[in-house]
Amino acid sequence: MKKFNFIVIAVCILLLFGVTNAFGQSVTVMAVWTGAEADAFLKMVEPFEKETGIKVEFTGTRDLPAILTTRVEAGNPPDVSVMPNPGQMQEFARDGKLIDLSTFMNMDALKSDYSDAWLELGSYQGKIYSIFISADLKSLVWYNPKAFAAAGYTIPTTWDELMTLSDKMIADGHTPWAIGLESGAASGWPGTDWIEDIMLRIAPPETYDAWVEHKIAWTNEVVKEAFEIFGGIARSDKYVYGGPNAVLTIPFGDSPDALFTEPPKAYMHRQATFIKSFIEEHFPNLVAGKDFDFFPFPPIKKEFGNPALGAADMLSMFNDTPEARAFMKYIASAPAQEIWVGELGKLAPNQKVNPSVYPDDITRKAAQFLGEASVFRFDGSDLMPAAVGSGSFWTGIMDYVSGESLQNVLLQIETSALDAYRQ
C-alpha cells in the first residue's frame, strides 16, 4: 500500500504542473506544418506576437484532415486553420463553418496584393474565405547540369525535343528518368501531378477544369491520352530507372538521388519546387543552380503553350475573434510572407513580396515562371472530392504503373467519381 500512496502523491504533484495553463489574448492556429515548416511558421508569427501582444497557440500535425474534421464536426474548431485543399475549404464554406473574410479585411488592399486567380481560388460563391500564404510550382523538370554538360545534352524546349533527348540517352546506355511514387499513406500523388501537367499541355485549360469538375468522364479520350503519355515513360524499363517496380517502391523524396550518383543512374526528374529541400538534405554539398537546376516541363501541343501547375497553402478562419482577425490580416501581408517564403524557399502569392527574399536564384526563377505563366491551374487532385483526388486517383496511378489495363483503371476511377461527385 505504501507504493500506492507514493503513486497518488506523484500524480498530485504532476497535476500541479499540469494545470498551469495561462489564459490571455490568444489565437489558436492549426496547420499541417511540422519540422522545418513549423519552425518557419513560428519565426513568421514572432513579429506579430511582439507587436500585438497576442499569443499564437500553434498545433502542427500531419494528421490535420482527421483532427480538423473531428474538431469542426464537434463544434470545437481552432480559430484559424490551414485547409487541406481548396475542395475541403469549399465544403466547410458550404456548411457555413467559415468566416467571410471580406467582413473585416480591406478588399482593395487585398485586390492590389493578390492576382484575381488567387482570390478566386480562395472564394466560394463569391465570398472570400481563404488567404494563400505560399505556393509550390509543379511543372518543373530537375536535372544535374554537370552531368548534362559531361554527356553533351542540351535543355529541351518542346516535348519532341524531350523525347528525342530521352531516346538519345537510352542510345548512350543511360536511363533518362527517375520517378518515385511511394509516399506512405499518400502513395501515388506524384503520378497525379504528371497526369495533370500532361493534361494541361494536350488540351485547353477548359478541358482541364471540366475534368476536375467531372464534367467529362475519366474514360474520355483526353484523359486516356494523358495516362498513355505518362505510362509510356513510367511503365517502361528503358525510360525510367529501375522500371515500374522501382517507380512503385522508391520513396518520392529518395527518387531524385539517382541524378547525383557517379555515374548518374538517371538524368531527369519531374517534381515541384519543394523537392529542393530533399536534394539539399541528402547531398549537403550540392549548390542550387550549379549542381542541380530545373527547366520547365516542356509544351506538348504547341497551341497550349507552357502552363504552370501549382499547389498552395491556404488559411481559413473558423471563429470570429478580434485576435483571429488581426492574425489573418497579418499573414496576408507582404512582410509576413517575406519571412515565410524566405525561410522555406516557397513562392509567395502576395505580389508585393520582394523577390530578393528568396534564398537563391532558382527559387527566383520559379517565382518568375509562376508569375509570367499565361495559364495557371491548381493541382487538380486537390480540387476533386477526396474519395477521388486522394483516393481512387492515387491508387489508380499505382495500379496503372503496376501493369493493370488502362481501361480497367479508368473505369474504376470513374465508378468512384460517379459516386463521390453525386454527394
Partner: protein
Amino acid sequence: MKPKFSQFLLNTPMHLFIILIAIIWVFPTVGLLITSFRPSSAVASSGWWTVLMHPFNFSQYTLANYYEVITKIGLGRTFLNTLIITLPACILPIIIASFAAYAFAWMEFWGRRFFFILFVGLLVVPLQMTLIPILRIFNKLGLSGSFFGIWLAHAGYGLPLVIYLMYNYISGLPSEIFESSTIDGATPFQIFKSIVIPLSVPAIASIAIFQFIWVWNDLLVALVYLGGTPNVAPLTVRISALVGSYGQNWELLTAAAFVSMVLPLIIFLSLQRYFVRGILAGSVKG
C-alpha cells in the same frame, strides 16, 4: 537426476529455437538502432549493416539525430505532459475494472451475463467512431483540452480489455478462499481489498504495462481531446511533428523511437519481477 551438461544437450533444439526466434525478433530493432546513429545521406544510399564491416570506424556514426530530437521536442515539459496523461490513464481503468471483474466473477446479480458480454463485446468498437460524439459532449462540459478529459477517455477505451483480462484472472482464483473468508464474516469489500487485489498483483502488473504502453504511444486521442500546443502536447505529438509535412527529415524518427521507448522498457523490466513463479504457488488452480 541427469548431470546438467547432458540435460543441456538434450534441450539443445529448444535452446536453438528460442535463440533463433529472439534473433529474428531483435534484428529489425537493431537495424533501427544503427540507423538512428547514421547521417541521412548515408541511410538513403547504403544498408545499415554496412557499418558492421568496420564497426570501429567512428566517423560513420553521428549523434545529430538524437541531438535534434532532444532539443526540438522540449524534453522536460513533454515528458512531464506524457506522464501526467499516462499515469492516471493507466491507474484509473485498472481500479474501475478490478471492481467490475470481481463482481462478475464472484457475485450473483441480475443481468450479470448480459453485462459481461456487453462489456467484452465493446472491445470491437473502433475508437475513431467515438471521437466526434464524445468531443461534442466534452465541449459542453468544458473538458476538451484538459487532462481530466483525456484520462477519462483513455480509461473508457481501455476498460473492455482490462475488465476481460482481470475477469479471466480473478475468476481463476480458488473458490475456497472466498468460502472460508465468508464464513469468517468478511464483507465482500474486505475480501476484495485484502485477498483479491494482493493475489492479483501479477495480472495487474502485466495489464498495467500494456495500458501504459498504449496510452504512452497514442497519438490520435491526444491530438483530438488535448490538442497539440506545446504546453499540453505529449511525446507522440511532438515526435510526429518533427518530420516535415512532405516527410523531410524522417530519419529523426529513428532516434525518436528510441527516446520514446526508454520509459516503457524501464517499466517493463522493473515489473518483470512480478511475473516470477511462486507468488501464487499452492493457491491457484491455473
